[in-house]
C-alpha cells in the first residue's frame, strides 16, 4: 500500500478532526480543519524552466507543489535535451534550497566583509545615487560591469545598459574564451556566426582534447549525439578518437585514446595533415573547388607564396611530429587513414581552455583538417547556426554623458592594441585596475561571476578589488567576491525568475528557450534583470530612455514577438504533432499553430521553447565568406587586419607582435605551429593540466552536496579536491594513493590528496576544477596570458611534487 | 533432623510451582510463536515448507526440554509431599 507523506498527514488530520468534533471542542475542530487545509494534497504543476548550471541550456520541467519546487526532470519537448539531463541539473534543487542563501539586500557595515541587512528601497537608491553621481561628474566610463557565464537577453540587457549609461566596460570574466564564433573559424571561413558540429551524423570523430562527454558546451546534447554515433540503428557504429594528455571519461569512451604532450595538438594536427596529403587521402574535389592557399600561389604583386600542402610536407615530417607530440608515427598514420577514409569525419579543435602558447594557430591547424576531409557544410560536418528571428531592439539614443563615456578605451584593453581581436581580456583586467591604466575604476558591478575564487588571476583580482571604492554584487550567495562588496542586491536563483536562453552550439536547428518563475521566490531577492531596468529608470537620461520596460518579462514578451511573426519555426510540441508539421512544411505549407501572439506567448511559457528545425543555410557559399569566398588555408582576412594594423600608428604594432611578429612572414597567416625545442626539466619537471569535471556547475557548486559527494567516477573522490598522478611518478616521489602531497609551481604551492591514475602521461599531473573542500589549482597557475586574446593559459604551468 | 527454614512452607511451595509454571509459559510461548511463524509463512506463501520443516525439529526439542523440567519439579517436589 502506498502512503505518501502528505496523504498520511491528510488522513491523520482527518482523524484528528473527527476526534475533536466528538469531544465537542469547537476551537480544536477549527484547528484540525486548519491542519487539514495545511496538509491537503497540494496542487501539482509542472513548470518549464531552463537549466543554468552550464552553457548547455537544457530545458527543465520543475515539479511544483503549491508553488514549491519539489523535483526536476528534463523537459521532454525541449529540442536540446529531449527530456534528458546531466548530473548537474539536479543540483539546481539544492542551489534553490541552499540554507546559506542571502535572504535580502545587504550593505557593508564597517570594513569589507561585514554586512548589515537593508531594504530594497535603500539598496536601490544607494546604487542609483552612486551611478548618477559618477555620470554627472563625467566618470561614467569608470563604472565596470563584470559578467559571467550566461547567454541571451540578460547579456543584451547589460550591454544595452552599459552603452546607454556610458561605459565601455561591460566585461565578461569567464574561463572559456568568449568568442562568437571561434576565431579560427572566423579567420579561415570568414563566418560571423558560430559554427556547430554535427556530431550525431558523423561517422568518425577526431577530438583534440575537447571534453565532449564531460564539460564541452552542452553535455546532454553531445551525449545524445554520441549515442547516435555509436548506435543509430541505420548505420555502422561510428568511431571516435580522443587526443588528450589524460584518459578522461571521454577518452575512456573513445575507441582510441592518444596521449599527447600538452600544447602540441597543433603539431599533431599538421602531422596528420602531412599523412593525409602524402597518402592522397584528402578530399581533392573539396580542396580544389572550395579552398584557397592549398597549393603554392602568386599574389597580385607577383610574389610567390608557399601553399599549405608544400608547407606541411616540408615542415611536419612524421618523425619530427612524433618526437614533439609523443605520439608514435604509426598512430599518426592510422588516425590519418581513418580520417581520410571514413565519411563523414569531423575534427574538433575547441578545447575549453587554451591549448597552449600558440592557441590561435593550433586551432587553425586543427580546423584545416576539416577542410582536408571536406567536412564543412554537410551532414556530419561543420554546420552554421541560424539567427533567431527575435524582434530587434530600438536604437539607443545616447546623450552627451553616454557618448563621452564610450569614447574612453576599455579598461581591460580589449579591442585595441595587442588585444585587437579579443572581446574581453579578463586576465589583464586586475593589473589594469590596480595600475589605473588608463583610468581608475570607481565602481564595479559583479553579475554572475566570482573572480576571487574561480579566476586564475584571483590574487590580482583581490588586490584590484581593494583599489575600487564601490563594489556591488548581484550574487544570491555570500561567496568570495560578493563578501568583498559594499552592496549586495541578491538575484533570484534560476528556478525563481523570468529568463531566456539562446544556445549557439546546436547542430541542425535554432532554439530559443523561455522560462517563467517555476518556484515562488524563497527570500527577499529580485531578478537582477528587473533591477537593471529599475536602476535605468531611476537614472533617467539616455539610460532611462533606452531601457523603458517595467519588467524583464515585458522586455522578453516584446522581443519574442519576432519569433511569432517570423513565419517559420514552432513552439515545441509532442513528437507526433511535430513530425506532422514537418511533413507539411516539406511540402511547402507552414501554418501557425496560434491565432494571436498572446496565445503563442502563453504556449511558449507552458512548453518552454521555440525552435526552427529547418531552413538552415548550409550552402558552402554561406559557409565561406572570406575574401576569396573559399576556405582559406592562408587567412587573407588576418593578413588584411595585420596590414591595416601596421598602417595604423601606435597600437597596431602591439597587435602584430602579439600575433607572432611580422618577421614570421606568411607563417602568421598559415596554420603554422612551431615545433618547440626540447626543454630541460629544470626545477619543475611536471606539467600541470587542469580540467573541468562533468559534475562541476557554473560557479563551482559548493552549495550542491550531491555533486560534491560524488564528483567523479574515474577516481574515488568525495568532497575534497585531489591531484591525479601517474603511479610511476608517484613512486618516484614516494607517494601512495590517498597521501597528502604538495604541488608546487613558481607561483605557489597547494596541498592536495593524491589519487593514483594510470590514465595519463607520466610527466603530467591533473587537478580538477572542483568546488568542494581543498585548495584550488588557480593558486598554482602561473598567470601566463594568451598574448593577443587576453585570457589566461590554464595548461602551461610547470610544477613539482613533494610528499606532505 | 529439623528443617531449617524461615519461610512459610506454603509460600515456598507456591514459588516453586510458579517456577515450573514459568517454564511452561516460556516454552509454551516459544511453541506458539513457532506456530505463528508457520501461519505467517503460509499466508504469505513465503516458503512455508521451510518453517514446517524447522518446526518439526524445534517443537519436539522444546517439548522434551519442558518434559525434563516438569519431571524434575514433579519428581523432587512430589517426593517431599510423600515424606
Amino acid at each position: 500500500m502506498r502512503v505518501t507523506r502528505r496523504g498520511f498527514f491528510q488522513a491523520a488530520g482527518g482523524a484528528a478532526g473527527a476526534a475533536a468534533l466528538i469531544r465537542g471542542t469547537l476551537a480544536k475542530a477549527e484547528q484540525a480543519g486548519e491542519d487539514l487545509r495545511r496538509w491537503a494534497t497540494p496542487e501539482e504543476v509542472l513548470v518549464p524552466s531552463i537549466c543554468q548550471q552550464c552553457p548547455g541550456g537544457c530545458g527543465l520541467m520543475v515539479r511544483t507543489l503549491d508553488g514549491e519546487a519539489a523535483g526536476l526532470s528534463g523537459n521532454p519537448l525541449h529540442p536540446i535535451n529531449r527530456g534528458a539531463l546531466c548530473p548537474k541539473a539536479f543540483g539546481g534543487l539544492q542551489l534553490l534550497y541552499d540554507p546559506n542563501r542571502l535572504k535580502g539586500p545587504m550593505a557593508r557595515a564597517g570594513e569589507r566583509g561585514r554586512f548589515r541587512p537593508i531594504g530594497w528601497d535603500e539598496a536601490l537608491s544607494t546604487l542609483t545615487a552612486r551611478l548618477a553621481d559618477l555620470r554627472a561628474k563625467g566618470l561614467s566610463h569608470t563604472v565596470a560591469i563584470l559578467g559571467g557565464q550566461y547567454r541571451g537577453y540578460r547579456d543584451t540587457l547589460w550591454k544595452r545598459f552599459a552603452e546607454a549609461y556610458g561605459t565601455p566596460n561591460y566585461i565578461r570574466v569567464r574561463c572559456l574564451p568568449p568568442e562568437r564564433p571561434a576565431l579560427a573559424h572566423q579567420l579561415m571561413q570568414g563566418v560571423t556566426t558560430p559554427l556547430s558540429y554535427d556530431l550525431g551524423e558523423a561517422q568518425f570523430i577526431l577530438s583534440f582534447g575537447a571534453g565532449l562527454l564531460e564539460a564541452w558546451l552542452g553535455p546532454v546534447h553531445v551525449s545524445q549525439a554520441f549515442a547516435r554515433l555509436r548506435r543509430s540503428g541505420e548505420r555502422p557504429r561510428g568511431r571516435f578518437v580522443q587526443v588528450d594528455p589524460r584518459r578522461s571519461p571521454t577518452a575512456v569512451k573513445a575507441d582510441r585514446w592518444v596521449p599527447i604532450v600538452p600544447g602540441t595538438d597543433g603539431i599533431l594536427a599538421l602531422g596528420i595533415a602531412n599523412a593525409l596529403i602524402r597518402e592522397e587521402l584528402y578530399d581533392k574535389e573539396f580542396i580544389e573547388r572550395h579552398t584557397f592557399g592549398f597549393d603554392d600561389w602568386v599574389d597580385q604583386r607577383g610574389e610567390h607564396h608557399e601553399g599549405f600542402k608544400n608547407f606541411v610536407l616540408k615542415e611536419y615530417g612524421l618523425l619530427a611530429v612524433s618526437a614533439a607530440t609523443g605520439v608514435p608515427v604509426r598512430t599518426i598514420l592510422e588516425i590519418a587513414r581513418d580520417l581520410g577514409t571514413t565519411k563523414p569525419a569531423l575534427v574538433i579543435g575547441e578545447r575549453g581552455p587554451a591549448y597552449g602558447a600558440d592557441d590561435l594557430h593550433t586551432r587553425m591547424a586543427i580546423h584545416s583538417l576539416n577542410a582536408l576531409v571536406g567536412s564543412i557544410g554537410g551532414r556530419g560536418g561543420l554546420l552554421i547556426q541560424g539567427e533567431l528571428p527575435l524582434s530587434p531592439l530600438p536604437a539607443i539614443r545616447q546623450d552627451e554623458a553616454a557618448k563621452g563615456g564610450l569614447l574612453h578605451p576599455r579598461i581591460d584593453g580589449a579591442g585595441r592594441g595587442q588585444y585587437f581581436l579579443a572581446s574581453d581580456a579578463s586576465q589583464a583586467l586586475p593589473d589594469r585596475i590596480l595600475g589605473a591604466t588608463p583610468y581608475p575604476i570607481n565602481a564595479l558591478l559583479l553579475f554572475a561571476t566570482n573572480p576571487l575564487a574561480n579566476h586564475p588571476a584571483k590574487e590580482a583580482f583581490a588586490k584590484a578589488f581593494d583599489r575600487v571604492p564601490f563594489i556591488v554584487s548581484f550574487s544570491p550567495f555570500l561567496d568570495e567576491s560578493s563578501s568583498q562588496a559594499d552592496l549586495i542586491l541578491p538575484d533570484h536563483t534560476y528556478l525563481e525568475r523570468w529568463q531566456d536562453d539562446q544556445v549557439t552550439h546546436l547542430a541542425g536547428f535554432t532554439c530559443f528557450s523561455l522560462a517563467r518563475p517555476a518556484a515562488t521566490p524563497l527570500h527577499q531577492t529580485r531578478n537582477t534583470a528587473d533591477v537593471v531596468l529599475q536602476i535605468a529608470k531611476a537614472l533617467g537620461g539616455s539610460t532611462g530612455r533606452s531601457l523603458v520596460w517595467e519588467k524583464f518579462e515585458d522586455f522578453l514578451q516584446e522581443r519574442v514577438r519576432g519569433l511569432y511573426e517570423a513565419g517559420r519555426g514552432y513552439v515545441v510540441s509532442a513528437p507526433a504533432e511535430e513530425s506532422l508539421r514537418r511533413i507539411l512544411e516539406r511540402q511547402g505549407y507552414w501554418t501557425s499553430e496560434f491565432k494571436s501572439y498572446d496565445e503563442f506567448w502563453a504556449a511558449l511559457g507552458t512548453r518552454g521553447a521555440w525552435w526552427d528545425p529547418t531552413g538552415l543555410p548550409v550552402s558552402l557559399e554561406a559557409l565561406h565568406t572570406t575574401p576569396s569566398r573559399k576556405f582559406e588555408f592562408y587567412a587573407s582576412g588576418l593578413k588584411r587586419l595585420v596590414d591595416e594594423a601596421v598602417k595604423r600608428d601606435g597600437t597596431g604594432e602591439a597587435f602584430v607582435q602579439a600575433l607572432g611578429g611580422r618577421d614570421r612572414g606568411d607563417l602568421l597567416y598559415l596554420p603554422a605551429v612551431a615545433i618547440p625545442a626540447v626543454r630541460e626539466p629544470g626545477a619543475f619537471p611536471l606539467r600541470l593540466n587542469t580540467y573541468r569535471l562533468m559534475s562541476r556547475p557554473t560557479g563551482g557548486g559548493r552549495n550542491q552536496p550531491w555533486l560534491l559527494e560524488q564528483p567523479a567516477v574515474h577516481v574515488r573522490a568525495t568532497w575534497e579536491g585531489w591531484v591525479e598522478i601517474h603511479p610511476k611518478t608517484a613512486a618516484e616521489v614516494g607517494v601512495k594513493g590517498g597521501d597528502w602531497v604538495w604541488v608546487e609551481s613558481a607561483k605557489g604551492r597547494i596541498r592536495l590528496k593524491a589519487k593514483l591514475y594510470a590514465g595519463t602521461l607520466p610527466d603530467v599531473i591533473h587537478i580538477p576544477l572542483f568546488g568542494g573542500q581543498g585548495a584550488s589549482p588557480n593558486d598554482l597557475i602561473a598567470n601566463e596570458t594568451d598574448p593577443f586574446r587576453g585570457f589566461g593559459l590554464l595548461n602551461t604551468t610547470r610544477v613539482r611534487l613533494l610528499k606532505a | 533432623m529439623s528443617r531449617v527454614t524461615g519461610a512459610p512452607d506454603r509460600m515456598v511451595r507456591a514459588l516453586q510451582w510458579a517456577m515450573a509454571g514459568l517454564a511452561v509459559l516460556f516454552i509454551g510461548g516459544i511453541v506458539v510463536w513457532i506456530i505463528h511463524l508457520i501461519r505467517t509463512a503460509w499466508q504469505l506463501q513465503d516458503v512455508p515448507s521451510a518453517s514446517i520443516g524447522i518446526s518439526l525439529v524445534a517443537i519436539p526439542v522444546f517439548l522434551t526440554l519442558l518434559g525434563v523440567i516438569l519431571y524434575v519439579f514433579v519428581g523432587l517436589l512430589g517426593d517431599r509431599g510423600g515424606r
Binding site: R716 | T40, V61
Partner: protein
C-alpha cells in the same frame, strides 16, 4: 548421601559465606568497564550505528564477530561437561559446574551482541511478530533459545543438591535457597529423578549445542559471498567453538583457582587433561582451516582469491597470521609436552587460543565484506571507541555475572566431589575391572554363530 555436617569441603563454601576486599575491587573494576560499554551503547542508541566504524561495504564488524565468538565460547561449557559426564570421566567433577556457568552467562552476552548490532533495537519485537524461518537469523534465534533453555536446566538440575546444602548450612538468603532447592532431601527417589534428568539432559544438550554453532555458521554460508559460501562451515564452526570453549574454561578455572584458593580441587592433572584436549582441538582446527583455505586456493576463483589474498598478504595479514600463530603455533608448542610447569603452559595456550579464536571470527566476517564482487573500493574497517567499549563491556559483564554467581552458588559441585569420594572410587574400580579381561577364568570368547 552426604552428611550436611560434613566439613571437608568447607573451602567451597567460603566464597559464599565471606566477602573480602578483593571481591569489591573486582566488582568495581568490572563495573567501570561495563559503564564504558553502557555509555558506548547509549551513544550508539541515541545517534545511530554511525558511531561505529562500520560502513559500505563492511556492514558487519565487531558485533557480529563478538556474537560468533561468544556463542562459540558457550560450547565450553555444556558440551564439554556433557561429553565428560557421558564418558564417565571421573576428573570432570570439579570442572562441570564452571563449564556450565560459562555457557549460560556467555549465551546471554552472545545473543545480546545481535541486539547491539541492530540498527533499530526498538523494533526488536518485529522478529517475533513478523519473523520468517527462511532467514538463518531465525534459525539462530530458535537454536540459541533452545540451547539457552537447555543450558539453564543443565546448570540448575545438578546444582539442586548443592543448593540444599546452602539452604542448610549458610545463614543468608534462606528463602532463595529454600525455593531453589525444590525440597531436596537426598532421598533415594529424588536421587533417581535427579540422575535420570541429568543423564537425559547430557544427551539432549549435545545435539542442541552442535546445532547452535552450525546454525551460526549458516548465517554466513547460506549467502553467496566469496569465502563464506562453504559446506564445511558448520563443522568448522563447531570445532572452533569447542576449541575456544575449552580455552575459556581453562582460563576461568585458573582465575578462580587463584582467587578462591581451590588448588586442592583443581590440580595440575585436570589442566593436563584439558590441555591435551585443547591440543587435539587445535590440531583439528588447523586441519579444518587448512582444508577450507586449500579448496579456495586450488579453485582459484577470482572473487574468492580477492578475499584470500586480502587475508594472506593484504590489509588483513596481521589478523590472519596472528590467528595462525595464536591458534596453532603457540598452543601446539605449549601443549605438546606438558611435563613441567603444566599450569603456566596451559594458561598461555588458553589465553592465546581465546585471542586467536576471536581473530578467527573476525577474519571470517570482515575480509569477505570488504572485498565485494563488483568493483567497489576496498573497504577497510577500523572499529571506534564505541565498539571497543562494547567489547570490553561484554567481557566485563560476563566476568561480573560469573563472579556474582560464585557469591551465590558454589563454583565447584560439592555433592559431585563428595559423590566422587564416596561412590566414585568404588564405581571406577568396579568399572575398571569390567574393562579388564577376567583373570579368574581366562578363556577365549566363543565365536558367535554366523559371524
Amino acid at each position: 548421601m552426604a552428611d550436611p555436617a560434613d566439613t571437608r569441603d568447607a573451602a567451597l563454601l567460603f566464597p559464599i559465606e565471606l566477602t573480602g576486599r578483593g571481591f569489591y575491587v573486582t566488582v568495581g573494576l568490572l563495573s567501570l568497564l561495563i559503564l564504558w560499554g553502557a555509555i558506548a551503547y547509549w551513544t550508539q542508541f541515541d545517534e545511530g550505528l554511525g558511531v561505529t566504524g562500520l560502513h559500505q561495504p563492511v556492514s558487519w564488524g565487531f558485533y557480529v564477530t563478538n556474537f560468533v565468538f561468544f556463542i562459540g565460547i558457550s560450547h565450553a561449557g555444556t558440551l564439554i561437561s556433557a561429553i565428560l559426564r557421558l564418558s564417565k570421566a571421573e576428573w570432570r567433577r570439579p570442572i562441570t559446574r564452571m563449564a556450565e556457568v560459562i555457557t549460560v552467562m556467555v549465551l546471554f552476552i552472545g545473543a545480546g551482541q545481535i541486539l547491539i548490532d541492530l540498527g533499530r533495537p526498538d523494533r526488536m519485537m518485529n522478529i517475533i511478530r513478523y519473523g520468517r524461518y527462511q532467514s538463518p537469523l531465525l534459525w539462530d534465534a530458535t537454536s540459541i533459545s533452545a540451547y539457552l533453555t537447555a543450558s539453564i536446566v543443565y546448570l540448575y538440575i545438578p546444582m539442586i543438591p548443592d543448593i540444599a546444602i546452602l539452604r542448610d548450612r549458610v545463614g543468608k538468603r534462606k528463602l532463595l535457597y529454600t525455593v531453589l532447592a525444590l525440597g531436596w532431601q537426598g532421598t533415594e527417589h529424588q536421587q533417581k529423578v535427579l540422575n535420570r534428568a541429568i543423564a537425559i539432559m547430557a544427551v539432549l544438550v549435545i545435539p542442541i549445542a552442535v546445532s547452535v554453532h552450525s546454525v551460526v555458521s549458516f548465517v554466513f554460508s547460506m549467502t553467496l559471498q566469496p569465502m563464506w559460501r562453504s559446506t564445511i562451515f558448520g563443522p568448522y564452526f563447531v570445532v572452533g567453538a569447542i576449541f575456544s570453549g575449552i580455552a575459556a574454561l581453562i582460563v576461568a578455572m585458573l582465575v578462580f583457582r587463584k582467587a578462591y584458593g581451590l588448588h586442592g580441587y583443581l590440580k595440575p592433572i585436570h589442566f593436563r587433561y584439558l590441555g591435551q584436549l585443547l591440543l587435539v582441538m587445535s590440531l583439528l582446527w588447523f586441519y579444518f582451516t587448512f582444508a577450507e583455505y586449500l579448496t579456495a586456493y586450488y579453485g582459484n576463483e577470482p572473487e574468492e582469491m580477492h578475499v584470500f589474498w586480502a587475508k594472506f598478504s593484504g590489509p588483513f595479514w596481521p589478523f590472519f597470521w596472528g590467528m595462525v600463530l595464536t591458534n596453532f603455533v603457540i598452543p601446539v608448542l605449549c601443549l605438546v609436552r606438558l611435563g613441567r610447569r603444566t599450569i603456566g603452559k596451559v594458561l598461555i595456550a588458553s589465553l592465546s587460543v581465546t585471542v586467536g579464536m576471536w581473530l578467527e571470527r573476525f577474519i571470517i566476517v570482515v575480509p569477505t565484506l570488504s572485498n565485494p564482487r563488483l568493483p567497489f573500493g576496498e573497504g577497510i574497517y577500523f572499529p571506534t571507541w564505541v565498539e571497543w567499549g562494547e567489547l570490553a563491556g561484554s567481557f566485563a559483564l560476563f566476568a561480573l555475572f560469573f563472579v556474582l554467581f560464585t557469591k551465590l552458588f558454589p563454583v565447584i559441585s560439592i555433592w559431585e566431589i563428595r559423590e566422587g569420594r564416596e561412590v566414585g572410587l568404588k564405581e571406577v574400580e568396579e568399572r575398571l575391572l569390567t574393562y579388564l579381561p577376567d583373570t579368574a577364568e581366562p578363556r577365549l570368547a566363543e565365536p558367535e554363530r554366523g559371524w
